[in-house]
């Protein structure tokens, strides 16, 4: 069939069209298109690339100066990669917290997403609003709220004391920082996951059941692979956001650990060293960018969807 159709395809005036594309008139059309997109391109260049380029340029400026674009040195990176410098600990905490947040959220959000996509029916909208609503309140306010909940003689401890017990001492620990991150980033994992699960055709699940597949097999062989694009987007989004998280470790964690973004903040503020802060920010951007790209390459969405 294809052998038959191909010559036909060649016979179509494709070649003519290609020729037409290369005529000066066509080139003019393309350039007009570019011209039309210029305003958007300029906005993107100025609003998106220019700040990134400035941060990158600052990373190579003389420490504790503002000689951006006027000086070039690798000393900021030498300082960061000096074996005596413990800044790697902050990066390890940030990446570790982000990875743990993704894992915990994948487990926590999946049943909720499944419920929203399959079980809650007409209540799904209402339940979604409940998860979206906290996003309208400032993150810091919500985290201070949790502090009041967990603090000594606070909501939890005070109530348990009335009942003759005592609340757990969880505040100001790395564990509560992770809790805060899981709480804050839940919607960012949940909704892409709901979209992913909504993409799974019910007919396929029913067909698998009719063919005798067990519940676990249906989940593993049908539901999970088909919902994977949504799950992957949720995981990636959550990871990227969580790597940059700082309020949770400051407010709930009582700075029991210093995360990478906090180190960047210290460099820009108390240390009066914008070039060092920029170098740290650039390294974090490269790490996160590289990890995201690797994740996207390794976990090919087309393969997950079974299109290859």
């Amino acid at each position: 069939m294809s052998e038959l159709t191909l010559p036909h395809a060649e016979e179509r005036p494709t070649g003519t069209r290609l020729e037409a594309r290369s005529t000066p008139a066509a080139r003019k059309k393309v350039s007009r298109g570019l011209l039309s997109s210029l305003p958007v391109l300029v906005v993107l260049l100025l609003g998106f690339l220019a700040p990134l380029a400035t941060v990158a340029a600052y990373a190579f400026a003389t420490p504790r100066t503002f000689d951006v674009f006027r000086s070039f040195t690798l000393i900021n990176f030498e300082t960061i990669f000096d074996p005596a410098n413990t800044v790697w600990m902050s990066f390890a905490w940030s990446l570790g917290f982000a990875a743990a947040t993704v894992v915990v959220l994948a487990i926590v959000a999946y049943p909720i997403a499944w419920g929203l996509a399959r079980v809650f029916g007409r209540w799904a909208g209402f339940v979604s609003v409940l998860f979206v609503f906290p996003l309208f309140v400032s993150e810091n306010v919500r985290l201070y709220g949790w502090t009041l909940f967990f603090i000594k003689n606070g909501v939890l401890d005070g109530t348990l004391k009335l009942l003759g017990g005592a609340g757990p001492e969880v505040l100001y620990t790395p564990g509560i920082t992770l809790f805060g991150m899981v709480y804050v980033y839940l919607p960012f994992m949940l909704f892409p996951m709901v979209l992913g699960l909504a993409m799974v055709p019910k007919e396929l699940v029913e067909a698998a059941r009719d063919l005798g597949a067990s519940r676990l097999m249906i989940w593993r062989e049908v539901e999970l692979p088909l919902a994977m694009p949504g799950i992957m987007i949720g995981m990636l989004l959550t990871f990227v956001l969580a790597v940059g998280a700082v309020a949770e470790s400051k407010i709930l964690g009582g700075q029991s650990v210093i995360v990478a973004t906090h180190d960047i903040e210290i460099a820009f503020t108390y240390a009066q060293n914008w070039p060092l802060g920029s170098a740290l920010a650039l390294i974090l951007t490269i790490i996160v960018g590289a990890l995201s790209l690797i994740a996207l390459t390794k976990l090919d969405l087309d393969r997950i969807l079974g299109r290859r």
Binding site: Q255, I258, Y270
Partner: protein, 378 residues
């Protein structure tokens, strides 16, 4: 009758289109007459302080509040001298850093020096921190000030014990896990030196830096939490901690005003800064070396000298502090007994006398690196 051709009309419209932005540009420059930008610690950015000035001058006043001096100074160094008209930071920066670096410009002495006569006795002209190093130029105006060492819950540690033991209180291993550290890292550098028994405001030798390193690791390692003022007061009130450093009237006054007089700022009786153990801050507000400085900058500096406004500044939202203008009866009488109690006015004079004034640490950069590493290893 004049006849316009279509071409003439287009010419005029084109000309107007070109001239339009220029007219706007001119008005943008003129707008500085009624525009004022203030870079300050919190309080000066509050509506209570700014709104009366805004309405009386029909001015567009913008104020950005930050909670540390180094960031504000760096904003000016990065080129924001074109943006700001007034900068409000602690005492050493105007005289030792901003004036030598050309970031601020002197005030007209004849207009502003008389205000110092109405301030508390220690601010009488020529007030050292308001003057340039050579003593010739007046660089800013003083207003809020206060002792700033540490805060204790007097139900857990008595004021007497805290004052007598001073910084050694934090060397006691039994308080591990019972204290917090305010996230003011510049002040924490002073405090780690003070706990180590070293004067912070000098160049330190290797042995002193080793001691500073050991102290920083130990003190940060033993802290229950590091956080902002709200976190410190919350932890003190709830009983999570018994004391915190760095702290003073500035940080504890909101909790005291909120019905917790048991929380008290303490100044050690003695210490390693020529016998003094406490550190005090005094805010100096200066005019920025803005090429297009708003004339309202000087007006605002005069406005906050008014007894009523000075009282509002003292009790603006955020933190409550004594003000130099309390030197006049008209201003002092505006303070209620509760307000005086919140700012610990009963011991203010004696505490200030036990304090050295906030100064630049010559090897601050190295010390901050050590302190940050200690925080990471906590």
């Amino acid at each position: 009758m004049t006849l316009f051709s279509k071409r003439d009309a287009l010419k005029i419209m084109g000309g107007a289109a070109l001239a339009g932005p220029l007219v706007n540009m001119q008005s943008a420059f003129a707008a500085r007459e009624s525009e004022l930008n203030i870079l300050c610690w919190e309080g000066y950015n509050s509506a209570q302080v700014l709104d009366p000035f805004r309405s009386s001058k029909s001015a567009n006043v913008k104020a950005e509040s930050l909670t540390n001096d180094p960031t504000m100074i760096n904003r000016l160094r990065a080129g924001e001298t074109k943006v700001w008209d007034l900068i409000n930071v602690n005492n050493p920066w105007a005289r030792k850093i901003m004036h030598p670096e050309g970031l601020i410009k002197p005030l007209p002495k004849d207009e502003f020096e008389p205000f110092f006569a109405k301030m508390l006795p220690q601010f009488k002209a020529p007030y050292r921190w308001a003057m340039s190093d050579d003593g010739k130029d007046l660089l800013g105006m003083a207003q809020r000030f206060g002792p700033y060492s540490f805060v204790v819950n007097t139900n857990k540690v008595s004021r007497k014990t805290a004052e007598e033991q001073g910084w050694d209180l934090f060397n006691d291993p039994s308080i591990k896990g019972k204290y917090g550290i305010l996230e003011s890292d510049d002040w924490n550098v002073f405090d780690m030196f003070l706990i180590a028994g070293i004067n912070p405001f000098k160049t330190h030798d290797e042995k002193e830096m080793e001691k500073f390193t050991e102290t920083s690791k130990r003190i940060f390692g033993g802290a229950k939490l590091v956080g902002d003022i709200a976190a410190m007061n919350q932890a003190l009130v709830s009983g999570e901690i018994d004391m915190h450093l760095t702290g003073g009237t500035y940080s504890v006054s909101p909790a005291r005003a909120d019905g917790h007089p048991e929380l008290r700022a303490v100044t050690p009786l003695k210490g390693p800064i020529d016998g003094k153990g406490g550190t005090a801050w005094i805010e100096i507000t200066s005019t920025v070396n803005n090429p297009n400085l708003s004339p309202l900058a000087l007006e605002f500096l005069k406005y906050v000298q008014d007894p009523k406004v000075a009282h509002t500044v003292a009790f603006a939202e955020g933190t409550f502090n004594p003000v130099a203008q309390m030197g006049t009866k008209a201003c002092f009488d505006l303070f209620t007994k509760e307000e005086l109690d919140a700012i610990q006015y009963d011991s203010l004079e004696e505490e200030m006398s036990r304090c050295a004034e906030y100064d630049i640490v010559p090897d601050y950069d190295k010390a901050l690196e050590i302190l940050t590493a200690a925080k990471r290893a906590k």
